[in-house]
């Protein structure tokens, strides 16, 4: 099959970008979206042009490196699917595909489809952990954790940090990302001592880094490849409010 692409090309953070049209041939239905871009890049290289830069690594939907806007939707048309796990059988060759980078103020474009998401690391560094130095741990069975609690923690911990939630949010908010970590750690007994300070510190960091405020539009969870639920945001708000009342 042959597809027409309109791909965002931008040579560096401060240069102007534009959509450039390409056609790619010999695309099979079983190819992933990124393999289709590989085909384009092989050709561009041999023609002496610079290939389209895009982030990717594991190509099995877990590392969170990949992610582009496909026809205006983060990670494309399939629900709960990362870009690397999206296959060309979902695309109509008759329609051009528009491919753009994540667009959010805290995610400056590095090149083409690659953005700098290190702001998400800064949010975690602000408090997204349990302070448990190596060697200080009690026996793993010392504190039982009810299965429903463990399951809630796991569901939130499944976040891969891809940034789709930020890209999809009309406010450019990282609330779902932050809330996923606050929920993961905040429901577990091990996470209680730092629970409220953690929520407050991470939210403050998120604001300072230039992410927008959350107005609960739910666009984030609709594109989340791991289906992080919107309730996590309620938990975050709850913990931040509690922190404020406790003067943290």
């Amino acid at each position: 099959m042959r597809y027409t692409l309109r791909v965002w090309r931008q040579s560096g953070p401060s240069s102007r970008g534009q959509l450039v049209e390409y056609t790619v041939d010999d695309i099979s239905a079983d190819m992933s979206f990124l393999e289709m871009l590989d085909v384009l890049n092989e050709r561009l290289l041999l023609e002496g042009e610079s290939p389209v830069a895009f982030d990717h690594d594991c190509r099995e939907g877990i590392c969170g490196a990949c992610g582009v806007m496909i026809d205006g939707v983060a990670h494309g048309p399939e629900r709960a699917t990362t870009t690397c796990q999206l296959h060309m059988r979902h695309f109509d060759p008759a329609k051009p595909i528009v491919v753009e980078p994540w667009r959010a103020a805290p995610f400056p474009v590095v090149r083409d489809l690659v953005v700098d998401r290190s702001a998400l690391d800064r949010v975690i560094e602000a408090g997204g952990y349990i302070s448990a130095p190596t060697g200080a741990a009690p026996d793993a069975h010392a504190v039982p954790v009810p299965k429903p609690v463990a399951d809630t923690a796991f569901e939130a911990a499944a976040c891969i940090g891809c940034g789709a939630c930020v890209a999809a949010c009309p406010n450019g908010s990282s609330m779902l990302f932050t809330a996923a970590k606050v929920t993961h750690l905040g429901v577990l007994p091990q996470g209680q001592p730092e629970r409220h300070a953690r929520a407050a510190d991470m939210l403050r960091a998120q604001d300072d880094l230039g992410f927008g405020g959350c107005t609960l539009t739910g666009e984030c969870t609709a594109v989340c490849p791991k289906g992080i639920p919107l309730e996590t945001i309620s938990r975050l708000n709850h913990d931040v409010l509690a922190a404020a009342m406790m003067g943290q």
Binding site: D38, G48, E60, D121, G191
Partner: protein, 642 residues
């Protein structure tokens, strides 16, 4: 002459005495560094997977000045994140007779008696602390309704000692380590350098003193000096082009260290995982694993008749060959990975493979669904079935999965002693990047265990013994300049060729040679052929490689070309190692060394040693050093799964 023989390795720094007390003894004899002095000592840790992430975090907690590097855009993305099944630990929470000694024994046996006993025993001892540590960090392991941790069984073990977090255990353990690392970055004890690739090791006065790195965003080449360097850069499975590794996984860091003098041990020991989704076409970029746990309920079969093109549902029961159950009646579908993989290859080679190209076998859940019901099967494997359907567009509840073996893990790596020191003083190697704990075959759920054991517990306990002699003073500026110039020259050379083939096309071709001639089955004839093909291909690479753009910018084509160049050199050493080891053991199967039933035949009299290779120049015969393996606690026997 393909290689020369050097002196045997004299000292592995293994303590004497009973095996149960060696680690305790070593921890006591290792010198300590005064907390006030630690902040004056810099440790560069390359790689942020389970081993590197946990090591950097723990060294930061101890007060060392830590530099942490990764090529990914965030330390959280290292490929440990993709491990599915679980992590072994001798907790005996199931009360089913597990113990440190049993985990030690299973691991030595699973490795086909080609691992160092002392290291493996220490691994088993430390395993229990890992689970405690991870739970304290908030890793959401699977739990029973009573609130206690759940465990399951894995291949090669008769006890239930595998802790897991659904099919995402690696992700959860890595996020635990990443969060511990983030805490240290916040505290200022660790400086993080993402999108930074190590391209050379600085060796000064015989000591590893830093790394030369390339900033992948700006292309700038800089040197970071340190008192010790820790490589935690993972395995080299991508030498085969197609593997379950992430696209970026590479051998560059350990290969450049090897070129600087670190010995490379057992490079031919590679693990081929039996249950992966088959290749669908020539543009395939990677292979996806389907967890080993599926073999608990799925039955593996192919048609009895070669060339049978009927859809699986039309093939009657008596025209199906459940070959694992037929060949290995006592273990059936649960034979270890190396055996299941080779059996799949054998039936496909006989023309009975299924799916496009005939490179696949069925993994059929019809019986399990009939016996347990669809809901139970969905509860156990639902996420894997979804992933399979997403990739293949086939519904495994209705038609059998098609699976085929794929390269998954490399047991070989840089040689290290008991203290995880390479042969370059001050260069430590941990996790999959070293060779030490899995012998010739790794058991399922043991990679996560080793990575975290090395990073959280072993390295931090022994590195002080080396650093106690530091700080090591200034490094000669000329040596730094020379290392940087080497790196810049290498990049310039790649850019200067301006040929007509991409790095990807060379990688694909190299991978095909390696898969065909140094893959699941190896023969003297095939390996000799590979040793002719690879240097010729390498030479062609340096004549025809095409890289666009410049070195001073974000340039993924350049990154890729540099990694492929190193894979060529490694590939040659792998084939040579495989050729010299005229026995079959674990993941290394030589057709000349098999029993009349087609099983692997070890040759303990000749090959009970670690082959540690010394670099002697590209295209020059390397030097082989032996480390004899001594078995005091487990007697080597023939692995049988009939």
């Amino acid at each position: 002459m393909l290689f020369t023989e050097g002196d045997p390795i004299a000292d592995t720094r293994t303590p004497d005495g009973p095996i149960e007390s060696r680690w305790e003894q070593r921890r006591f004899t290792a010198r300590l560094v005064n907390p006030a002095n630690r902040r004056r000592l810099t440790v560069a840790v390359v790689g942020t997977g389970l081993a590197g992430g946990s090591a950097a975090a723990t060294l930061g907690e101890l007060g060392y000045n830590v530099l942490s590097f990764c090529y990914q855009d965030s330390p959280r993305r290292a490929h440990s994140i993709a491990a599915q099944g679980g992590i072994n630990a001798a907790k005996n929470y199931a009360g089913d007779g597990d113990s440190v000694h049993r985990l030690f024994h299973d691991t030595i046996k699973g490795g086909d008696f080609r691992a160092r006993e002392s290291n493996v025993h220490r691994l088993a001892e430390v395993s229990t602390q890992i689970i405690d540590q991870c739970v304290a960090q908030g890793v959401p392991f699977a739990r029973e309704y009573g609130g206690l941790l759940d465990t399951r069984s894995f291949g090669g073990a008769q006890v239930s000692r595998t802790f897991y977090a659904r099919g995402q255990t690696g992700q959860q353990l890595l996020l635990g380590a990443y969060q511990a690392l983030a805490r240290q970055i916040h505290a200022g004890s660790v400086r993080s350098y993402p999108r930074t690739e190590m391209l050379d090791l600085v060796v000064s006065d015989g000591r590893a003193r830093g790394v030369v790195v390339r900033d992948l965003v700006t292309g700038e080449i800089t040197t970071h000096l340190a008192d010790a360097v820790v490589l935690a850069t993972g395995g080299y499975g991508n030498v085969f082009h197609l593997s379950t590794n992430a696209k970026g996984c590479n051998t560059t860091a350990i290969w450049r260290a090897h070129r600087r003098g670190a010995l490379f041990a057992n490079p031919c020991y590679t693990q081929i995982h039996p249950t992966c989704i088959p290749v669908s076409g020539t543009h395939q970029s990677k292979l996806t694993l389907m967890s080993e746990s599926l073999r608990n309920d799925g039955r593996v079969w192919v048609p009895v008749q070669a060339g049978d093109e009927r859809v699986p549902g039309d093939i009657p029961e008596d025209e199906r060959d459940y070959y694992l159950e037929r060949l290995y009646p006592s273990f059936g579908n649960l034979v270890p990975r190396d055996i299941a993989s080779r059996a799949a290859k054998a039936v496909c080679d006989s023309g009975r493979g299924v799916g496009p190209g005939g490179l696949g076998v069925y993994l059929d859940f019809a019986d399990a669904i009939g016996r347990l019901g669809r809901d139970v099967v969905a509860a156990r494997y639902g996420n894997l079935f979804d992933m399979y359907q997403r990739i293949t567009d086939e519904n495994p509840y209705e038609v059998p999965m098609r699976i085929y073996p794929a390269v998954h893990y490399t047991m070989g790596g840089l040689w290290v002693d008991y203290d995880l020191r390479s042969t370059i003083p001050g260069l430590f190697v941990i996790g999959e990047a070293n060779f030490s704990d899995h012998g010739a075959n790794r058991l399922g759920a043991s990679a996560l265990m080793q990575g975290l054991a090395d990073g959280y517990f072993v390295l931090p306990a022994v590195i002080g013994d080396y650093l106690a002699d530091g700080p090591f003073g200034p490094v000669d500026a000329d040596e730094v300049a020379e290392a940087e110039d080497d790196v810049r020259a290498g990049i310039a050379a790649l850019l200067a060729v301006d040929g007509d083939r991409t790095a990807e096309s060379f990688h694909r071709e190299l991978g095909r040679v390696m898969w065909d001639l140094c893959g699941m089955e190896r023969s003297e004839e095939g390996l000799r052929k590979a040793l002719e093909l690879i240097p010729a291909l390498r030479e062609e690479f340096w004549r025809r490689i095409k890289v666009t753009g410049a070195g001073s910018e974000f340039n993924q084509a350049l990154e890729k070309a540099g990694r492929v160049a190193d894979f060529f050199e490694l590939a040659e050493l792998m084939c040579l190692d495989a050729l010299h080891r005229e026995e079959s053991c674990g993941g290394h199967f030589r057709v000349e060394s098999q029993t009349s039933d087609g099983d692997a035949r070890r040759d303990d009299d000749r090959f009970s040693y670690v082959a540690a290779w010394e670099f002697a120049g590209v295209g020059s015969p390397p030097v082989l050093h032996h480390e004899e393996l001594v078995f005091d606690s487990v007697r080597p026997s023939v692995r049988s799964y009939k």
